[in-house]
Amino acid sequence: MIEFQQVTKAYQVAGREIPALHSTDLTIEAGQVFGIIGHSGAGKSTLLRLINRLEEPSSGRIRVNGEDVTALDAAGLRRFRQRVGMIFQHFNLLSSATVADNVALPLRLAGELDRGQINQRVRALLERVGLSDHANKYPAQLSGGQKQRVGIARALSTEPSILLCDEATSALDPHTTRQVLQLLAEINQELKLTIVLITHEMDVIRRVCDQVAVMDGGHIVEQGQVTDVFLHPQHPTTRSFVFDDESDEQQADDFAHVPGRILRLTFLGESTFAPLLGQVARATGVDYSILAGRIDRIRDLPCGQLTLALIGGDVDAAMALLQASQVHVEVLRT
């Protein structure tokens, strides 16, 4: 578990204080994939780097599994960092070392295993990330996705309990991004590892995260289960990520000339695939037109959102029926 207690961070630039993180309280449960999303400059990297003290907090406490990491001395901090893996947007691999030597580096620095044990673990890790055939190559000979796999294997080599990911997929194409996210999700399940990842893409959050925090201007402006935040975003920043900048007001304008009661239905899990609308229409005599919609998947959970106009028949009964079928109903216009 990672806990932030009134943590602030300001950078000193030319004698001036630049606030990057305002007083923040945050709890990240063990075993979760916790996402932090925000626009560039929101303070995501700052928050992430405070966890392994690549940045020193200006005030406040950070506890990891109960231990106050802000109070660690240099030796304690080094031991702590060996238990926290980190991967980076630009991979940050040693270009002068082979793939195998890159993965072995944290183990050699820690100096706890002998050569045979290190080789064995490196082999197992490369196998796990699907790079067994590339052990003796240099990073320059690999694709971006392969480099990030090396980064992941390296970060996992000391068997950490936490993995920090700083825009780990931002330099990758969409297809490779999905593969790397898939790998992270599998690792989270297999190793019961806590993953904290930051990104500026809602898609990344939707694919792997359990919980999400939205950052803006050095504040966490919204936080919760990904399903809640994704389907019912509250803060304008969150809405801009979820709806690609399409505001509700704009939508309302678009539907001004549409008659009837306008509802937004949110389906989650099984109900996404049920033939509900037809049943409801037949049972209550309402007609509907579909104004907007999206069908998606949050981690493995299918979900959908439809904006409908209901006309004629018993609209109240239709709403009641939908609610009874585990559909979340919001009235956008009565």
């Binding site: 080094r78 960092r81 980076f88 630009h90 002068s96 620095l109 240099y138």
Partner: protein
């Protein structure tokens, strides 16, 4: 052909070449020995680096710049008493090495500093995030990553030292430069001058191509 090279005593040239190689080898060894740590120190204490110390960096910088701005020929003369103190003589190969080292070390240190700055900050950061000590960051990440740059720096400094050894010849250092001045210039034996210059050129070519090959061999980018 034999007409042209009548003045040449090949034994003298052989001895002079040997002296030049000894001066070069000795001074290069000590320049790297002193310049590498100094370069690392300059890098670490420099602006926005791991051990940023503005005062120390300013002082080191000033000393390095002062020594670099001093013409080598002046350094040779100024150094004579100090050289005598260290080696017992200011003449010959032994007498030439201290001024060569003092003249080349600041330049080499700067080149090392520059090579280290070329290393991606992200790599230092990644190594820090693994729990590395500062010594480990330097030996396991910075130096291996900067190796091509440092080899290039050693090549540059070796070639600089070749021309410095020729100057050291003027104040009694011996070697090919000495030969060129004494016979070629003072006694108008142009053929001796030509041979020594060609030998120096060959030496520089060999150093450059060894350096280039090593840089290519160690570059993985």
């Amino acid at each position: 052909m034999s007409e042209l090279f009548t003045n040449i005593d090949w034994y003298d040239i052989w001895i002079a070449t040997l002296d030049t190689l000894l001066m070069l080898g000795g001074s290069l060894l000590f320049t790297v020995l002193f310049g590498l740590p100094l370069g690392i120190l300059l890098f670490l204490t420099g602006p926005r680096q791991m051990f940023q110390r503005n005062g120390l960096y300013a002082v080191l910088s000033l000393i390095v710049n002062a020594l670099r701005s001093l013409p080598f020929i002046i350094l040779l003369i100024v150094m004579i008493p100090v050289t005598k103190l260290i080696t017992g003589t200011s003449l010959g190969v032994a007498g030439a090495i201290p001024p060569l080292v003092v003249g080349a070390t600041p330049f080499f240190a700067r080149l090392v500093e520059t090579a280290l700055r070329e290393v991606d900050r992200g790599i230092i950061e990644a190594t820090q995030s693994m729990g590395a000590t500062t010594a480990q960051i330097i030996t396991r990440a910075l130096l291996p990553e900067a190796r091509p740059g440092i080899i290039a720096a050693i090549t540059v400094i070796a070639i600089t030292l070749v021309s410095y050894t020729a100057m050291a010849g003027v104040v009694g250092g011996g070697g090919l430069g000495d030969l060129a001045i004494r016979y070629g210039y003072q006694r108008f034996q142009t053929d001796v001058m030509v041979v020594t210059v060609v030998l120096l050129l060959v030496l520089v070519q060999i150093l450059q191509s060894i350096g280039d090959r090593l840089v290519v061999h160690y570059s993985r980018k």
